[in-house]
Symmetry: C2
């Protein structure tokens, strides 16, 4: 198997590192023609790796002594811990020794580190965090889902373009529809920001803008891509997550009471299927879109399947020339 | 029964008007010592009323020939339809012939109409729409849930004060906790607006501020009151609603398949209980807080129980001197 695609993975990031990360990498190299650079404390990572069999040329361990924790202030952590698994991994991308970087570590540090190390695509003002939301008819790519809490109108236009390219090249959506997250469907609805953005999106080239995406319709899959500022995007993301958890908890407590216990037990399989469809490990990671190479954030509590999925998405991102297509569309 | 409290109700607003509105009013006057002024097309309303028996002095019909529809632009509708049920009803409050006004009609027209007719409490910059969200441990009052899409920091401080008073006087919460809706729990998280608001709330008198309320925790009941701008509030509200509907739809489709049908049928009662706990009719209405009298918006699809609950809440609002308490707290 020729392994021309090289992806760096932060072996130390996340609650289940390095065990689940290393396990995911070892699985991925069996499935895909990819070489993985596992970045982290060499002795620990090598010990984890020894549990698996894999092509010798498919995994390489790159040493990094430090680890950035999620409690650290991103700007400080990135500056002080140059020898952390995250900064070393991003450095491999900068030096073109890797084509993408995947980490389940600090979201903020990854964004700051990506900005100063990998750098933005020419013309991109702000990279955005994209999240694949499970909906009733598939997935919706929501961006920005948390990287930029304050946005200017033109940022959102760029998010729409970047999101369209990503949805097409990585998620396999043809001519993806783009909706503007808003509190009403009519053009004149919303705050000052979205009113301005609406006008700009109507006149933007190369995207399939379908108007406002009402929040209530997002879980039903109102459009392939939904754009918004990072504060609103994170609000949508976390509200969805919170309500799913709360509602499933309430359902569990109601249906496992006294007389209903037996019927509830009989429904274990469908409930497990539902939970699985909302499981972020199945989705993979959340890409920072707008850097010169893919920087992918994985949920802190991720397990091996998430890493496998992230590696698959990274391969699609690289093979389909996503960065070049974004650069071209932004300059139109 | 002495009926010193007089409440005006828009008999023509909402999808189920006048039938459900009139029914609710007829039920409420049996339960509470209140007089209801039913505002709408006299002949139609009187015909509906003829189906019920009630104290003669408990319901009066006030004629209003026009109806404002939800499709109309609020500012125009309010200006042109002075003789609509909504504007006549708000006029009764202005003339002190009624102490509160309840309508299931256009949300926007009710806000504009309330502003120009009833007017704001002295010192209040923007009245807010409050919504009672069902949570795992009761209710949370979310405001602003949609009236003001663009907010200045001081508006949110006023929302916190108004929300605290409302939660205590109408919802019966003692020394209610107030959280600031944010995308992280730490003080430094969020956009420019919420960072400024955080500082102001820390130093605000007369409220029990507990810091940031993370969106993911809102459905679990993180605080009694949650404050935010109207765009974010409406985003939270509609995302919660959309996710509940989507998740329940997915569950229904999974558990009513082939072998699971019988077990699912056995769980009808607990599922009905869950749906009921999220039913807006049980909650009543969403108050516009900050006007010189209570102006209450009811869901457009509301039925009689919602009207009964709104009338009950209006009585509590009036009897507990909510407006006077807000005015006092704002001036502190």
């Amino acid at each position: 198997m020729e392994r021309n695609i090289v992806i760096a993975v932060d072996a130390m990031g996340g609650d289940n590192a390095p065990y689940e990360i290393v396990k995911g990498a070892a699985e991925a190299v069996k499935l895909y023609p990819v070489k993985v650079l596992l970045v982290g404390q060499e002795a620990i990572v090598k010990k984890e790796l020894s549990a698996y069999t894999y092509d010798e040329d498919s995994i390489e361990v790159v040493n990094a002594d430090e680890v950035i924790s999620t409690e650290e202030v991103p700007t400080e952590a990135v500056r002080k811990k140059r020898n952390s698994s995250m900064m070393v991994g991003l450095g491999l991308v900068k030096e073109k020794k890797a084509m993408a970087f995947i980490s389940a570590g600090s979201t903020g540090a990854l964004f700051v580190g990506g900005t100063i190390t990998v750098g933005r695509i020419k013309g991109i003002e702000r990279p955005a965090l994209g999240t694949c939301l499970p909906t009733l008819n598939g997935y919706t790519l929501l961006l920005d889902s948390g990287a930029n809490a304050d946005c200017k109108p033109q940022y959102l236009v760029q998010f729409a373009k970047m999101g369209s390219v990503y949805a097409e090249t990585v998620l396999g959506m043809k001519n993806p529809t783009v909706g503007l997250a808003n509190i009403g469907v009519e053009k004149e609805k919303g705050n000052m920001l979205v009113k301005e953005v609406y006008e700009l999106l109507e006149n933007a080239e190369g995207i399939n803008f379908i108007g406002n995406a009402e929040m209530v319709d997002i879980p039903f899959g109102v459009s392939n891509v939904v754009v918004c500022d990072g504060f609103v995007g994170n609000t949508i993301l976390k509200t969805l997550e919170g309500q799913s958890k709360a509602l499933l908890k309430r359902i569990k407590s109601e249906i496992t009471k006294g007389p209903y216990k037996i019927a509830a037990a009989a429904l274990k399989t469908p409930f497990d299927n539902i939970k699985k469809s909302y499981d972020s490990d199945q989705i993979g990671g959340a890409p920072y879109i707008g850097f010169k190479a893919l920087v992918m954030k994985v949920h802190g509590s991720c397990k091996a399947p998430a890493i496998v999925n992230c590696i698959k998405q990274s391969i699609d991102f690289i093979e389909n020339g996503t960065v070049e297509k974004i650069e071209k569309l932004i300059q139109e």
